[in-house]
C-alpha cells in the first residue's frame, strides 16, 4: 500500500540526519588539518573541478586563520559549503589524496571545507566586495548552482544581474534534488542567501522562461543572457504499465520530499527503483528512510559499469536496499489501476556501446518482483522543447557551447547540467565561472578576477 506519514517525527529526524556530520570542535579539525602534507601542485586541487586551493585552505585552518580559509575556498567555489556536503569526493579530491598511495585514509577534505565555510555562512562573513556597478546588465535563467555561481562572479565585477527562476526558491537541484541526509532545505536557503548577500543580484522567482518571459525579451533587455536551466524530469521507460498509479518519477519524488516535508510524501511497502545513478541511490535510500519495508534497485548492467560510486552504493546497501544486477524492467503489472508487480528481463553483457561500456542484451529469462511502487531514475531528459523553440543548437536537448560558454544565439551563454546533461554541483559551479568569464570578455569588462580553471589551463600550459 502506498501511504504517507509512516513514521514518528523523531524517526524521520533520525533517518534524515546528516550522514557526514561536521567536526565537533577546532581540536578535531586540527587533528585532520595537521595530517595534510601541504603537497605542491597538489593532486587533490587538480581533481577538484573548481580547482580550490586545498592545501592552502587546510593550512589556514591549522593556523586558525578560518576567515582566510573560507575565502580561499569560496573564491574558487561559491558553493564551497554545499559542495563540502554533496560532492562525491571519493572520485574527486579525496580520491586523489596522496595518502591513498600509503593505504592511509585520505584527508577529509570535504569535512574540513565545511568547517570553514559553514562558519562563514553562519556568521555572515563579508568576504567579497562587489565592484562599483559598471552599468552592464545580464539576465540569468535558473537559480541553480550554475546560475548562482555565474551571478556571483559577474556581480563581483560590477555587473548588475537579474535571475529568472521558475521555482519559488533558489538553489536548483541542490535545494530540490539532492538527498535530504546530505543537505537540508534550510541549509540550502542560507547558502543561497549568503551567495546573494554580495548585492547586485536580483532574483525574480516564479518566472519561467518560455512561459512568463521569452528569450527574445531577455536578449533585448539585457547585454547578455546566461542559461543555467539544468535538466528536467526522468526519461520514460517506454514499457507497459508506466501509466499505473504507483509509478513515480524519482525527481518528483525527491522534489516533494525536499519541498513538502517527510511525512507528506507517500511511499510504498515494497518499492522498486529503476537505474543505478546518483538519483536512483538517493531515491532508494530515501524511500527506505521514509519507511518502505523493502526496496530493490533494478539495474541493467553489472557492478563494473555502474554509474554511482561504490561509496554511494554502500549507503544504499547499509540502509538495507537490495540490488538486482543485470535486470531490465519489461512490464509493470497492476490491479484496479494500481501497481502490483514489476516484471524484469534477465540481461547479459554484449558488445561495448557508444559509452564504451558493454551493453546489456535481453535473455529469454524473466522474473517478477512484488511491488506496490516503482520509482523511475533512469536519467533526466533535457528541456528539449524549450531549447528547440528558441533555435538553440543542441545534442538531444543538451545545449552546445563554445569554449567561452557561448551558444549559437547571439548574446546567449549557457552552462551546467543544461549543457553536460547532468553531472555534479561542482561541475555546474565551474561552468558558472566559465560562463561569467566568457560574458565579461564579451562585455569588455577588463581586470577579471574569476579564478582560473586549473585543470584546463595551467596543467596543459605547463606541459
Amino acid at each position: 500500500m502506498i501511504t504517507n506519514n509512516r513514521l514518528s517525527a523523531e524517526q524521520y529526524t533520525l533517518n534524515f540526519a546528516d550522514i557526514h556530520p561536521p567536526f565537533e570542535s577546532h581540536d578535531s579539525a586540527l587533528v585532520e588539518a595537521s595530517r595534510c602534507l601541504f603537497c605542491y601542485d597538489a593532486p587533490c586541487m587538480k581533481s577538484c573541478p573548481t580547482s580550490i586551493n586545498i592545501p592552502k585552505f587546510i593550512k589556514q585552518i591549522s593556523t586558525e586563520n578560518i576567515k582566510g580559509s573560507a575565502k580561499t575556498i569560496l573564491s574558487s567555489n561559491i558553493f564551497g559549503a554545499g559542495c563540502g556536503k554533496v560532492c562525491p569526493v571519493e572520485k574527486l579530491c579525496e580520491g586523489a589524496c596522496v595518502y591513498n598511495f600509503l593505504e592511509e585514509p585520505p584527508i577529509p577534505i570535504a569535512k574540513l571545507q565545511r568547517y570553514s565555510t559553514e562558519k562563514a555562512i553562519e556568521d555572515k562573513w563579508k568576504l567579497f566586495e562587489r565592484k562599483q556597478s559598471n552599468g552592464k546588465k545580464v539576465a540569468i535563467v535558473g537559480a541553480g548552482p550554475a546560475g548562482l555561481s555565474c551571478a556571483h562572479s559577474l556581480s563581483r565585477e560590477g555587473v548588475d544581474v537579474t535571475i529568472y527562476e521558475k521555482e519559488n526558491k533558489g538553489g536548483g537541484l541542490m535545494t530540490f534534488g539532492i538527498a535530504a541526509y546530505k543537505v537540508t532545505p534550510e541549509f540550502c536557503e542560507d547558502e543561497v542567501e549568503y551567495i546573494l548577500s554580495i548585492g547586485g543580484i536580483e532574483v525574480k522567482y516564479n518566472q519561467e522562461l518560455g512561459k512568463d518571459v521569452t528569450l527574445e525579451e531577455l536578449t533585448q533587455q539585457y547585454d547578455a543572457v546566461y542559461l543555467g536551466i539544468g535538466v528536467g524530469l526522468t526519461r520514460n521507460l517506454g514499457i507497459k504499465g508506466e501509466e499505473l498509479e504507483g509509478v513515480v518519477d524519482a525527481i518528483d519524488f525527491i522534489y516533494n520530499l525536499r519541498d513538502k516535508g517527510y511525512s507528506y510524501v507517500p511511499v510504498g511497502d515494497k518499492v522498486a527503483v529503476i537505474g543505478l545513478g546518483m538519483t536512483a541511490i538517493d531515491a532508494a535510500t530515501q524511500a527506505k528512510r521514509l519507511g518502505a519495508s523493502e526496496v530493490t534497485i533494478v539495474y541493467r548492467r553489472t557492478h563494473a559499469e555502474m554509474p554511482c560510486t561504490q561509496h554511494e552504493m554502500d549507503i544504499a546497501l547499509l540502509d538495507g536496499c537490495k540490488i538486482k544486477w543485470l535486470s531490465a524492467p519489461k512490464k509493470i503489472h497492476g490491479h484496479k489501476g494500481k501497481v502490483t508487480s514489476l516484471e524484469c528481463s534477465v540481461m547479459e553483457l554484449g558488445e561495448p556501446d557508444a559509452s564504451g561500456r558493454r551493453s546489456p542484451v535481453e535473455t529469454k529469462e524473466t522474473f517478477t518482483l512484488d511491488v506496490d511502487m516503482v520509482i523511475k531514475a533512469t536519467g533526466q531528459t533535457p528541456f528539449t522543447k524549450l531549447v528547440e523553440e528558441n533555435e538553440l543548437e543542441n545534442k538531444s536537448g543538451k545545449l552546445v557551447i563554445t569554449q567561452d560558454g557561448r551558444t549559437n544565439v547571439a548574446k546567449v551563454f549557457a552552462g551546467g547540467d543544461a549543457v553536460n546533461g547532468g553531472k555534479e554541483v561542482v561541475d555546474a559551479v565551474q561552468a558558472g565561472k566559465d560562463g561569467a568569464k566568457g560574458i565579461l570578455e564579451f562585455l569588455g569588462v577588463v581586470d577579471v578576477a574569476v579564478e582560473p580553471a586549473y585543470n584546463k589551463s595551467v596543467v596543459s600550459d605547463a606541459t
Binding site: 586540527l30 587533528v31 588539518a33 595537521s34 595530517r35 602534507l37 601541504f38 603537497c39 605542491y40 601542485d41 597538489a42 593532486p43 587533490c44 587538480k46 581533481s47 591549522s62 586523489a96 596522496v98 595518502y99 598511495f101 600509503l102 585543470n455 596543467v459 605547463a462 606541459t463
Partner: protein, 422 residues
C-alpha cells in the same frame, strides 16, 4: 638479553633512567609511584632556600597539531618544608634501596648554608647529591641557580665548599644559558665535583597571547622569562653534552644527560655522545611514569640487535665522529635518488629543492599526479629533499664519490684545488 644496569660512581640503578629534579620528584608520593612503575632512580626536587611559588607556572609550544614540543616553567625550587622532604627521602630510600636516590641542592650563597644542608641530606641515606647551578628564573635573581653556573669562578667556589663536607658522590648540574658549558664544567671538575649533569632549562619566552597581549605563562597580567625544556631542546642538549665529552678535563668525570629525552632512541643518542645515565622530566610530565616500560624495552631490544651486552659497550661511542668541519672529506659525495615505486607524488621534495636549494629535481606534469626525478648532475647532496619527503626510504642518498682519496678543507687550500663548482 642486554643488561640496562647502571653504575654511576658506585650509585647503582636497574636502568639508566632517572627522573630529573622537578615536580615528578617533588615528594614521596610521586617518587614511590615512579619506582613502582620501574624508574631506575630520581634526582629529588631541589632543596634549599625557602621559596614561594606563583600561579600560573607553565606554558608550552605546540607544533604540527601536537601539544608540547617545548615546555616552559617559572617554578622555583621545592616549596615544601625541608624537614618533610628529608623524612620522605629517608622513607623512600628504605623502601627502594636498589634505586638511585640523588638529592638536588641549592643553598643560599654562603659556605655555612651549603655545609648545613649537605649534612642534613646525607643523613637521610641518599646516594648522591646534585648541585643545581642551572635554574634560570627567580633563583638567579637572588644570586643562585644559573647565576652560579654562568660564572665559572663562583661555580668553582661553591663546589669547593661542597667538597669540603660531602662524603657521597657530587654531581654538578650545568646551565645551558651560556655560550659554552665547558668553562663552568672545567671549573667544577677542577674544584672536585665527581660528575656533571646537563642541561638545565633554557631561558625563554614561549609566546604571546594574541588576545591579552601578555606572554605566557600569564601571572595576573604579567609574565617572566621561564626555563625551556622538552623535545625542542634535545639538539641543544646533545651539542653541549658533546663538548663536555670532548674536553680533556671535563671528560674525566661521568655525565648524566638531560634535555628533551622522550624515547629510548633519545636516550641511546645521549649515551652514544657520552652520558652514563639519563634524566627525564617533560616526557614524564606529559605522559606519566608509565613511559618507563618502553624506554627500557626499546633500549634493551636495540642493544640486543647491536650486540651490546651492557651500556658501557656503547657509551661515548659516537663522540670521536663529531669533528671540526675542516676535517670533513670534501670528495665524499652523495646524490638523491627517488624510488618511483614508493613516491606518492606530493611534490614536497620538488618545491623544497626548486625554491630553496639547487633546482635539482625535474617535474613532469601529470593529471593529477606529477612525476619527479633527480637531476644527478645538479644535486649537491644536501639531504633537503630526503628530509622533506613524507615516505620513509622513498628518497635515498646514493654515494658517488668525487674522487677516491680523502681530501679535507686544509688539504684543499694547501693544494690550491678549485672552488665553486656550482
Amino acid at each position: 638479553m642486554a643488561s640496562l644496569h647502571t653504575n654511576f660512581l658506585g650509585i647503582h640503578s636497574p636502568n639508566p633512567y632517572w627522573l630529573a629534579s622537578a615536580p615528578p620528584t617533588d615528594k614521596a608520593y610521586n617518587v614511590l609511584r615512579a619506582f613502582e612503575a620501574g624508574w631506575g632512580g630520581v634526582v629529588w626536587k631541589t632543596l634549599g632556600s625557602q621559596v614561594k611559588n606563583v600561579s600560573s607556572r607553565y606554558s608550552s609550544v605546540d607544533y604540527g597539531g601536537q601539544r608540547v614540543m617545548g615546555f616552559n616553567n617559572i617554578e622555583l625550587i621545592s616549596d615544601r618544608p625541608l624537614d618533610i622532604n628529608l623524612r620522605e627521602i629517608r622513607e623512600v630510600v628504605r623502601e627502594f634501596p636498589d634505586r638511585a636516590m640523588i638529592v638536588s641542592l641549592m643553598a643560599d650563597n654562603d659556605r655555612q648554608s651549603w655545609h648545613e644542608l649537605i649534612k642534613k641530606v646525607e643523613d637521610t641515606g641518599a646516594h648522591g647529591l646534585e648541585l643545581n647551578f642551572g635554574c634560570p628564573h627567580g633563583m638567579n635573581e637572588r644570586g643562585m641557580g644559573s647565576a652560579v653556573g654562568q660564572d665559572p669562578e663562583i661555580a668553582r667556589m661553591v663546589v669547593e665548599w661542597v667538597m669540603e663536607v660531602a662524603t657521597i658522590p657530587v654531581i654538578t648540574k650545568l646551565t645551558p644559558n651560556v655560550h659554552s658549558v665547558v668553562p663552568a664544567g672545567k671549573a667544577c671538575v677542577e674544584a672536585g665535583t665527581n660528575a656533571l649533569s646537563l642541561i638545565n632549562t633554557i631561558q625563554s619566552v614561549t609566546g604571546v597571547d594574541l588576545d591579552t597581549f601578555v606572554p605566557n605563562p600569564n601571572v595576573g597580567g604579567q609574565s617572566a622569562f621561564g626555563g625551556y625544556c622538552g623535545p625542542a631542546v634535545k639538539p641543544i642538549a646533545l651539542k653541549f653534552l658533546t663538548t663536555i665529552a670532548q674536553n680533556d678535563v671535563t671528560r674525566q668525570v661521568p655525565v648524566s644527560g638531560i634535555g628533551g629525552i622522550s624515547t629510548w632512541k633519545d636516550a641511546a643518542e645521549f649515551m652514544l655522545l657520552g652520558a652514563t645515565s639519563v634524566q627525564v622530566c617533560t616526557a614524564a610530565m606529559k605522559h606519566g611514569f608509565r613511559i618507563i616500560e618502553d624506554l627500557c624495552e626499546g633500549l634493551s631490544n636495540w642493544m640486543d640487535e647491536k650486540g651490546f651486552a651492557t651500556t658501557a659497550n656503547f657509551i661515548g661511542r659516537s663522540v670521536p665522529t663529531l669533528t671540526k668541519w675542516e676535517e670533513l672529506d670534501i670528495n665524499y659525495h652523495i646524490v638523491a635518488n627517488i624510488d618511483q615505486s614508493k613516491c606518492i607524488h606530493c611534490g614536497l621534495c620538488y618545491i623544497a629543492c626548486e625554491d630553496t636549494s639547487h633546482q635539482s629535481i625535474r617535474l613532469d606534469y601529470g593529471n593529477p599526479y606529477n612525476t619527479y626525478t633527480i637531476k644527478e648532475e645538479e644535486c649537491v647532496g644536501c639531504n633537503l629533499c630526503k628530509l622533506m619527503c613524507p615516505v620513509t626510504d622513498c628518497i635515498t642518498m646514493v654515494e658517488q664519490r668525487k674522487a677516491p682519496e680523502y681530501v679535507n678543507w686544509k688539504d684543499y687550500q694547501r693544494l690550491g684545488m678549485p672552488l665553486n663548482d656550482h
